[in-house]
């Protein structure tokens, strides 16, 4: 049954409890739910606090403050309308242990405190499913960890002597990670992507898909991720005993005993799409999965667009997202 979760109303997850230390949990910080509309700052700051002891010897590792060089870039302006809640809105305030994470926490009881979330959810036409929609969020700066990568000593304002930084810069395939309209440059080396400034200093780093985050590799201990919520375990049929983790646009299966990555389950855009807000750029074409095309047909009143496991109903005129529809049969 397809579950339509809220129409024409703002979904707002108010806050989490970032101060809860998760440092012993491999230094992970947990990301938030779909409606959590921070743009990097608050959540990443929380991660800084969450981060465990720096085992790299470099010191100062933590989430970088991102700038979004791609996300939600609108065509014809950056305005993002936020509609006011409409009538027939049911408000719910709940403080609870996140159901989506309960399964995950159960498997890792020895890893420290459980995160508590406070949610404010406004819905209309809610059906029998009372869980909020949850989607992943791509990090504005790709989730770069600021500071020095493991094994590299901090020197001055950077991590590497300039000569060594230039050595990283010579990688042939760096263009694959190039970004436009930014002074920052990205260099790939041995499983990790490095951001370097014009002076050649390493300003941040992250493990990348196929590199340090490849099947068979052990999950980097300092790299944070989001556990996979229940909806995604259902959508992707993840019924085996692995941990499932989201990081930087990909969903990974991880052996909980060895921390080894067993498979890449899915690629995701990580685009934040919120009911009541404007559809982000990049969804102009009807892309509903074939199995659902009879149900969700574009009309003069509503368009339907797929992203990361959900179909979004969009007002063609205002481009406001009217509903997020789960695809479970």
């Amino acid at each position: 049954m397809n579950k339509i979760i809220p129409a024409a109303a703002a979904l707002i997850v108010a806050l989490s409890a970032p101060q809860i230390a998760l440092a012993q949990d491999h230094g992970r910080g947990h990301g938030g739910d779909h409606a959590k509309d921070d743009h990097g700052g608050g959540r990443q700051a929380a991660r800084n606090e969450d981060r465990g002891p720096d085992r790299s010897g470099g010191g100062g590792n933590g989430r970088g403050r991102g700038h979004d060089d791609n996300g939600a870039r609108g065509r014809g302006g950056e305005a993002r309308a936020v509609i006011a809640p409409v009538a027939r809105v049911e408000a719910r305030v709940a403080e609870r242990r996140n159901d989506d994470r309960r399964r995950d926490d159960h498997r890792r009881e020895d890893r420290g405190p459980v995160r508590i979330e406070r949610e404010v959810v406004r819905t209309v036409d809610r059906r029998d499913d009372r869980s909020p929609i949850t989607v992943f969020r791509i990090e504005p700066d790709r989730g770069l960890v600021t500071g020095c990568p493991p094994g590299l000593a901090k020197k001055g304002n950077g991590c590497l002597p300039p000569g060594q930084a230039r050595q990283i810069a010579r990688a042939r395939y760096d263009y694959l990670w190039a970004r436009r309209n930014t002074d920052e440059q990205y260099r790939y080396d041995d499983g990790y992507l490095y951001r370097v400034d014009r002076g050649g200093s390493v300003m941040g780093w992250l493990p990348v898909l196929g590199g340090a985050l490849a099947p068979g590799a052990v999950w980097p201990t300092q790299y944070s991720y989001q556990p996979v919520p229940q909806y995604y375990t259902s959508y992707y049929g993840l019924n085996d005993p692995y941990d499932y983790r989201y990081a930087n646009g990909a969903l990974y299966g991880v052996d909980p005993r060895t921390q080894a990555i067993t498979q890449v389950v899915a690629l995701l855009t990580g685009q934040p799409i919120n009911v009541g807000q404007q559809m982000p750029a990049g969804y102009d074409v009807y892309n509903v999965p074939y199995a659902y095309r009879d149900q969700y047909v574009d009309t003069a009143d509503s368009w339907y667009r797929y992203n990361d496991g959900y179909v979004y109903q969009v007002d063609p005129t205002t481009q406001l997202v009217q509903a997020a529809i789960q695809l479970l049969t």
Binding site: N70, R172, Y175, L176, G210, A214, G249, V264, T269, N307
Partner: protein, 186 residues
């Protein structure tokens, strides 16, 4: 719908059609309704002649499970000739697994996009230009170039949708005649 395109099957389309068992009606025909096959994207790619380089990159990146999974995705699939023309090197090299993954993310968008869908969106747009977000978190821009549909990446790479699309169980394989990354873009 704007222009009815000629229904001329190119040799490549014939090969791809025969290899993949899809039920395309016409190569490059943006108005034709394409029927889904019973294969996943991974299986479709594996059986498609002329797309060995892309298939090798998928395997090298460890993303076969993704293209065999639920999806859905649309993969803009450069033919082997496009890899050769771009001079990108050998993405079967185990030392290039991360590069293979990055390359593929730039060619994949969420959902199922048929050529007919893209053409309809272009037709509907006042500027005749529509965008989709890739798994590399970049925007791909689609426009008309005569009867063809072109796609351009943020890096400035451009390609034409060519040959016959294949609708798989978990998405669509859309052949393109060039890579959507530019080796000189860094």
């Amino acid at each position: 719908m704007r222009t009815i395109m000629r229904r001329a099957l190119t040799p490549l389309a014939v090969i791809l059609l025969a290899a993949c068992g899809g039920e395309e009606k016409a190569a490059g025909d943006a108005t034709a309704e394409t029927q889904p096959s019973d294969r996943t994207l991974a299986a479709t790619l594996q059986n498609a002649d002329g797309y060995g380089a892309l298939g090798a990159a998928v395997r090298n990146a460890g993303l076969t499970s993704v293209l065999d999974g639920v999806g859905p995705y649309t993969v803009f699939a450069p033919a082997d000739a496009a890899f050769t023309a771009a001079g990108t090197g050998d993405f079967t090299d185990p030392s290039l697994r991360a590069q293979s993954a990055a390359l593929l993310r730039a060619h994949i968008v969420p959902g199922a996009l048929t050529r007919r869908d893209i053409a309809a969106a272009i037709e509907r747009d006042a500027d005749g230009s529509v965008q989709m977000r890739s798994m590399a978190n970049t925007l791909l821009t689609f426009t008309r170039d005569g009867e063809a549909i072109t796609v351009a990446s943020e890096s400035g790479a451009r390609a034409r949708l060519t040959g016959a699309e294949n609708v798989a169980t978990n998405g669509v394989l859309q052949p393109v005649d060039a890579l959507l990354v530019r080796p000189d873009a860094s």
